[in-house]
């Protein structure tokens, strides 16, 4: 069963704009991760935020986590055409070592 659910399912923006994707989950977590998948490729790890963190930055990426609302957001600032990809959130399983992925947000950045 999917724990994380991304919103929106698809997002189309112009180059230079910011892109925000949201993820909601159902049970308590130790950490939440975001991954990117370019068409026809494997997933690439972007960032991990722990349950005791509220915000984390990595380059043009900003991730927030609100454990009271069981939600996270991924902000990509000053988007580029190369950011076009699907983005997935993933939460850890309570048994450890396993991740549960959402269905992803498909981002299209038009030049």
């Amino acid at each position: 069963s999917q724990q994380g659910e991304e919103d929106p399912q698809a997002l189309s923006i112009q180059e230079g704009e910011n892109a925000t994707m949201n993820c909601s989950y159902k049970t308590s977590i130790n950490n939440l991760q975001w991954y990117r998948q370019n068409s026809g490729r494997g997933l690439v790890h972007l960032i991990l935020i722990r349950s005791n963190e509220r915000e984390k930055h990595s380059g043009r990426l900003r991730v927030t986590l609100d454990t009271s609302k069981k939600s996270s957001s991924l902000l990509i600032t000053a988007s580029r055409a190369a950011d076009t990809a699907s983005y997935f959130c993933a939460t850890d399983d309570s048994q450890g070592g396993k991740l549960i992925f959402g269905q992803g947000t498909e981002l299209s950045v038009k030049p």
Binding site: S1, Q2, N31, Q33, G40, R41, G42, L43, V44, H45, L48, F88, D92, G96, G97, K98, L99, I100, F101, G102, Q103, G104
Partner: protein, 111 residues
């Protein structure tokens, strides 16, 4: 994708035939995973391994078996392939059970 390879990359097989997919890593990571990715279902865990000869079932394990006799290799076997197992299969590895690193995927078509 560095450090993790999957073979074959593409395979077409007939219903009822056995199929084995191989995942090979050079990172000496403890954890290895097999996922399938289908439209509308995102990424779903089939089986995973937390050490040599230590494996466990994931969300969609029916019809699949795995083996891990060496740290570097994780095999996924479809004992008798069915059309519902047509999918893209991804292997992933993890050192501590947090961030996962994905292979390039195997596209399997069962006719």
């Amino acid at each position: 994708d560095a450090g993790i390879t999957q073979s074959p990359r593409h395979k077409v097989t007939e219903t009822g035939t056995p199929v084995t997919l191989r995942c090979h890593q050079t990172e000496n990571h403890r954890y290895m995973y097999w996922y399938r990715q289908d439209p509308g279902h995102g990424l779903r865990l089939i089986h995973y391994s937390y050490g040599v000869k230590d494996t466990d079932k994931g969300e969609v394990s029916d019809g699949y078996s795995v083996s891990r006799s060496k740290t570097e290799d994780f095999l996924l076997t479809l004992e008798s392939a069915t059309s519902s197992q047509t999918s893209v299969y991804f292997c992933a590895i993890s050192d501590r059970g947090y961030e996962q690193y994905f292979g390039p995927g195997t596209r399997l078509t069962v006719t």
